[in-house]
Every structure is written in C-alpha cells, then in structure tokens.
C-alpha cells in the first residue's frame, strides 16, 4: 500500500529525536501562550513564528504545527475556565464548557475536550494522508487561469464565514491584496507603493502585519475592557469522565469528527465553521436539548472534535494546492516562504520527507497534547491566575524582539506598531482582520497567475470562463455569494453567529 509507505516515511522523519523534541517544544509553547486569555491561535503563531527561523525547514514546520495544536488546546482551556475564548473556533466551547466548570465539572470538561480532539485528530490525519496524493495530482492539471479562479473561490469562501457584513469582509480581502502589492513587482522590477522607503521594496513584513493586527490590537482592546472575569480554578478535582459521560460524549465526538473533516477541506472552512456546525447539530439531535447552554457534555465534545478535525483537514488545500483556507494556514504559508518552500503540489514530490513528516507529526503532536496537558492542567491554571497587567508587557517584549530578529531591522518594529494601530481602528469599525491577512498572503500569487493567464490567452478575459475547471470554481464562488445573500440564509447565519 502506497499510503502505508508514505506514512512510514513520515513517521521515520517525525520520530527522529530532533523532530520529536521540536514537536514537543511547539506543543508546550503553543499551549503556554494559547492559554493566556485573549490570545488565540493566530496571535500565538504570529508571536512564535520568529522562534522557528533558525531551525531546518522540517523541524520548523513540525514545531509550528505543534504550536498550532497547542494554541488551540490552550484556547479551549481558557474558554472553559474563564469563558474567554481566544478565537472564534473556541467560542462554542465556552458556552457549555464554562457552564460545566461553574458546576464544578471543569476537569471533566477539559478532559472531554482533550479526548474528543485527540480522537478527531487521529481520523483527520488519516484522511489528510489519503487525500493528499489524489488532490495534488489534480493540482498538476491546473493552469494559471484555474489557480486564479481557485483563489477567488478560496477568498470568497473565507469571507462567507466572516460573522459581520459580507461587503465589509470582501473589502478587507481587497485591502489585503493591495497590501500584498507593496514592494518590487517580480515581472518588471518596478517598486510599487514603497514611497522611496528602501525597507518597503521587499514588501510589508508579514510577521509585523500579523503581530500588529492580531497581537497588539488585541492587547489594547483587552486593556480597554476592565470587567473582571471569574476563573474557576480551585475546583478541579475529578478529571476523568464517568461511564455515563462517555456514553453521551462518544456519539457527539464522532459526529463532530465527520463534520469537521468534511468542512475543513472546503475553501474557507476549518475550525470555526466546523465547531459552529457541530454545536448546532448536537443541539438538534440531543435527547436533552434543554441542557444546552447549561453545561451539556455534547456541547463540548462535538465542537471540540469538529474544530480539531477541521483544523487538521484544512491543511489539505494548503499542502496540495498551495492555497491557505484560513488565517492559520496563511501564517503557515508565511513560515514556509521564509524557509524557501513554495507551498503547492510540488512539495510532495520534491520533498516527500518534509511532506509526510509534517503529516505524521500532526498525529504525534495530538498524542503529546493529551499526554502532556491533562496532567499539566494545574500548571495552566496557575498561569491563568497571573494578572493581565504582568502578561501583556511580556507579550509586547516577545513580539518586539521577535519581529526585530526577522531581519535585524528596527523598521519592522515600527511596522508592527503601525499595524497595531490599524488593527485597533479596524476593530472599532467592526472590520475583521482575518480576510485581510488571507488577501495579503494570496495577493502576489493571485496577480502572478492572473497576469500569466492573460498573457497565455493574449489578453482575452474569457479564458476564465471557457476552461471547464476554472469556470466551475468561479460558479462555486458565485453560488456561495448567492447563498449568503439569500434572506433566509442570512437570517440563520446571523442567528448562528449570535449564539455565542
């Protein structure tokens, strides 16, 4: 079996002492930062990106994947204990998880989240491994026109999930694409939008952009809100769910895994959509619908399984097509580019050890998280007790040193501060930064493919609608917009996002 050979290769790469160590360090750091209130996976990864620069590419990606899972796990911990979801993907967990914690079942809620995530992670890793080869074969059939249309679909898909106004989110994408234009044009060598600042000819700094928009802006918002939150940290006694808990948890986690695996593959899908969909479904199917919102274990198991499965399978479009479907994947593209890896179907053939090693390390990372974190919950809880006034200066310090060390340039520190201000204004205007970051990452790729497609068609715009794959992708994008614009769907979408 080819799949088994691939996985063997992957595990032999991922299980080297060096890579296991980095996976471990990644999981640990990710959880450590992710558990801090108000810091979601995106901010955590942006903050820890510079820590991986000095590593060899395989180790760096393995560590980043570890950081991602760790951050997500840490985020669920904070959601359950403090009712402060770091990112939209753990918003749903906070609903019933926090209620369980209030009833003195915080330990069970945390264990449920951990076990469900692990089970889902195992399944999703297998799906990822099985899908990778056929998907990348499909990708080799793609010309520039198909790639352009695929990116349109991916970006539209990401926007459909944004909780606010559709038009505002599309605007953020375009703004991101424009930000991506800053710097030297690869085709002509002309410097664009650099305004004679030499540092800008290399483009805007990706790390500074992500840190500013997600890290700094977040800090200002948190400082502004002075409300006190109650932390349930003293009552963690029983960790292990009872047999009755397991009976209610397993079907929910299984359904969550299926939903998450499917939705994660979709462009724009991933953790957030998966967890919302799973919660809605569990609530509909449950024999105890009245318990939802009051500490139903299914409300933790389902969404946690779904968001972990979704975050895993959202690696599929990234690794096989080179298209990031959400912010975290966009950050992975940034990391890969820094290590001179162009994400796309060629990675699997040109560097199979890296490709399969990364996939295998995902499973190892998931295992580590459950082995590590359940016994270490006490430590994370202590961390939650550190007052915010000591935490945010630490975040600022690590971000500033990190962003400086990317190019050893203080200009990047100023960029991060500027994006912090921009990000803060965005929040005030109810504009979401996530689509901007996606646009920023895809901007140069999109322009490149657009220009190449138009060159091949000798300036004929119809090339995007006469090639069958390209036109189906565009129709898909149009359908997504049409569906969201339908009044009925719009209402349920608003209800779904308000169920926080």
């Amino acid at each position: 079996m080819e799949l088994i050979d691939h996985l063997m290769l992957g595990f032999s790469t991922a299980l080297s002492l060096q890579n296991v160590t980095y996976a471990f360090v990644g999981c640990l750091l990710g959880t450590l930062i992710g558990v801090l209130p108000g810091l979601g996976p995106s901010a955590t990864i942006a903050m820890l990106l510079p820590a991986t620069y000095a590593l060899p590419p395989v180790a760096a990606l393995i560590m980043l994947a570890g950081i991602y899972y760790g951050a997500q796990y840490g985020g669920s911990t904070t959601a359950i204990l403090v009712n402060l979801p770091g990112e939209s993907s753990s918003v749903v967990t906070a609903i019933d998880g926090y209620q369980m914690a209030r009833k003195g079942r915080a330990g069970v809620a945390l264990a449920t989240a951990g076990i469900s995530s692990f089970g889902a992670g195992c399944v999703a890793t297998l799906v990822l491994a099985a899908f990778a080869t056929p998907m990348s074969e499909l990708a080799f059939k793609f010309g520039p026109a198909e790639y352009f249309s695929l990116m349109v679909l991916g970006l539209i898909g990401a926007v459909v999930l944004a909780s606010g106004s559709l038009m505002k989110a599309v605007g953020m994408i375009i703004l991101g694409l424009i930000f991506g234009m800053v710097g030297t044009d690869v085709n002509s060598g002309a410097a664009r939008f650099s305004f004679d600042i030499p540092e800008l000819t290399d483009g805007l700094n990706f790390v500074a952009l992500a840190m500013g928009l997600f890290g700094f802006a977040e800090i200002i918002i948190n400082l502004e809100q002075r409300e006190k939150r109650e932390t349930f940290t003293n009552r963690i006694t029983t960790l292990f769910p009872t047999a009755a808990d397991f009976r209610r948890m397993l079907p929910a986690a299984t359904r969550g895994t299926i939903i998450g695996t499917l939705l994660g593959i979709l462009p724009g899908g991933g953790a957030t959509l998966s967890s919302f969909a799973s919660y809605t479904m569990e609530k509909k199917l449950s024999k105890y619908p009245e318990e939802f919102g009051k500490g139903a274990i299914e409300g933790v198991a389902g969404p946690e399984a779904a968001n972990n499965a979704g975050s895993q399978t959202s690696f599929i479009p990234l690794l096989t097509l080179g298209i990031p479907s959400n912010v975290v994947m966009a950050l992975m593209v940034g990391a890969m580019t820094i290590h001179n890896i162009q994400p796309g179907p060629q990675v699997m053939t040109s560097d199979p050890a890296l490709f399969w090693g990364l996939i295998a390390s995902m499973w190892i990372g998931n295992l580590m998280l459950i082995v590590l974190n359940l016994p270490m919950i006490g430590l994370w809880v202590k961390l939650l007790k550190v007052p915010y006034r000591y935490l945010y200066p630490a975040i600022l310090v690590f971000c500033s040193i990190g962003v400086y060390s990317v190019n050893n340039n203080t200009f990047d520190v100023f960029q991060a501060a500027a994006f912090g201000l921009i990000g803060y204004v965005f929040v005030k205007l109810a504009l979401e930064p996530a689509p901007l970051l996606l646009g920023f990452v895809l901007g140069p790729m999109m322009e490149e493919n657009f220009r190449r497609a138009m060159l091949l068609s000798r300036g004929d715009f119809s090339v995007f609608v006469t090639r069958p794959i390209s036109v189906s992708l565009l129709i898909g994008a149009a359908l997504l917009v049409a569906i969201v614009a339908l009044p009925a769907v719009r209402q349920t979408r608003e209800v779904a996002f308000q169920e926080e």
């Binding site: 605007g171 424009i178 700094f216 600022l396 205007l429």
Partner: protein, 156 residues
Amino acid sequence: MRRSLEIRSQKGFAAGLLYMVIGASVSYVSTSYTMGTAARMGPGYFPFWLGVILAAIGGIVLLQSLRISAERDAIPHLDMRTTIWVLGSVVLFGLLLRPLGLALSLVLMVILASMASHEFGWKGAVLNALLLLSISLGAFIYGLNLQLPVWPSFLE
C-alpha cells in the same frame, strides 16, 4: 413614503468612506506605474483595478449604512491613552534598541507599557521588567544567539 437620509450605521459609514479613500488613492498612485495592456500587463494594471474595486465596495458599504434596515451603531470612542502607552512603548523600543541596547530599552518598554493598565504599580512594573529582561537575555541572547545589542553602544 419618506426616505430619511440618515447615517444609521456610523461604523459602516466610516468603513465605506475609508475603503473609498484608500481605493481611490491606490488607483491614483497606480497610474504613475506602467499600465500595459490586458495581454502584457504592467506593474500598474492589477493594483489599479484593485483600487477601483475597493472604492466601489466602499460605496456599497457606505450606502448600506444609510439603509433603513441598517442596524444603528455609533463609532465607539478610541481609547487614545491606552493606545499611546502600548504602541508608543513599542516604537520607543525600536528607536532606542540600537543606541541603548536591549537591557535599557526593554526595561523602559515594559515600564511604559505597564502604565496603560489601570492597575499600574511601580513595584510590580519594575519587577516584571527585570524578570522579562532576564528571561529575554537567557532565551534570546544566550539560548537562540540572536544578534541584538545588549548594552549601550557608547560603552562597548
């Protein structure tokens, strides 16, 4: 039926206006680059149209904010005090890192940034600064071997 022209969503109005201004400026700047033709695009072509699209979207967002069905909201006030302490401390760190070195600029950044909190206390801030300095020295300078000046340049 009376149609009142009233800005119902101030956030939407401001966002729309922002998009329009940025879009128009981007298109304007793009015209100074070579445009080229559809088959052989110059560096100005793609950004020019992105600017046009952004401005158009801005127009739609702006009109939506005037609709009767638009949800009412007001632009919340910007907490400039917090923003200046937090981001100002980062900018100052950038300015001082080269001449003064990591040790002094880091301590200064932590203390200034701490002032953004309404729970600020000198003792806590100074202790936190010293703790973070020792962690940074240990992790970044000795651990990861980052090339950062640690002490003021005039002392070396």
